[in-house]
Symmetry: C2
Subunit: 207 residues, 2 copies
Amino acid sequence: MYAQTTIGDFLDRLGSKASTPGGGSVAALSGALGAALVSMVCNLTVGKEKFKDVEPVAQRLLNRADELRAELTKLIDDDTKVLGDLMEAYGLPRNTDEEKQKRTALIQERSKIACGVPIRIARACNHLRNLTVEGAKVGNPMAISDIGVAVLMAEAGLHAALLNVDINIGAIKDAAFVEGVKQQVAQMVAGRSEMKESVLAEVKSKL
Amino acid sequence: MYAQTTIGDFLDRLGSKASTPGGGSVAALSGALGAALVSMVCNLTVGKEKFKDVEPVAQRLLNRADELRAELTKLIDDDTKVLGDLMEAYGLPRNTDEEKQKRTALIQERSKIACGVPIRIARACNHLRNLTVEGAKVGNPMAISDIGVAVLMAEAGLHAALLNVDINIGAIKDAAFVEGVKQQVAQMVAGRSEMKESVLAEVKSKL
């Protein structure tokens, strides 16, 4: 469980030649850091007389950001698990036709599973990005720069996760599955390219 | 020392209403994660016969990425330290004119110090971004997506750090100091906006 790993150990393992943790886990951690920053800004907003008008919104954002942080923290582990399983399949023997068939089938099966994790990371980062739009409007102006950092981490996590989706679908031969994934990804990114810039502009106007 | 803090504890403290750690520490951690990914890709490149031609470059990148990771890991702590010192200055009493003067002078002094840390974070993330340009060219293609994730984390860390520079200079009354900082920042971002896209394009062409 990476939540119980120290930051120094995580960075050391990441920097080593071991295949896990990899970029997918970093994508999830990036999102978790962004979610925690949204929680921080909301925690500095709720319960204060001068932000009473926006308290219900800030409380809702806080609850959602806390949920996303928990989900993304779990996804740091999940990505390592499915990546490890996939590497194990690649490492299987391929001396006989039977071994080759078994290996190929397992790689296909585990590539699909491995693809599901970065999709969930991307979806969570995408939700987080939506939260920062509201966070920039209602968050305590004293901490508003942290909403800016949050949208940067959400955006980095989203695109890092999508890179990991790309690698995995490259190995998958089931065309219908690949098409389904591509449609999900397209829906996630459609019309959202300016969201980060708009959150950052709102944040900068309040600095 | 955050290197000895677990990821779960760091996220919990970040999400709380405590003023530290804040977005500046997240910027440094984002850069450290990116640097570790560059190290990983280089560790999967050096010492392999088929990458012998690029080994000197990969070794140089590895050494530099390791240094940047160490520097950025230290900057996670440094940002918390200077932010804590600045918050302490803001919390000083201001009942008499003498107290007010003392408080104002200390806020000015500590704002300048607090400004220096995100500048160092931004500079380190900027160097890291340069490394990813070479990394995308020489890194082991099996792990090349991690160079893509690295440039995303470097870019997020850079812009998150610059947001923290912006907050700090907002409070500084020394116009020459502010001008000097603005020039340093301008040099860092000049003509670099397409670097991330060009690294990602090279990475995607190899997936």
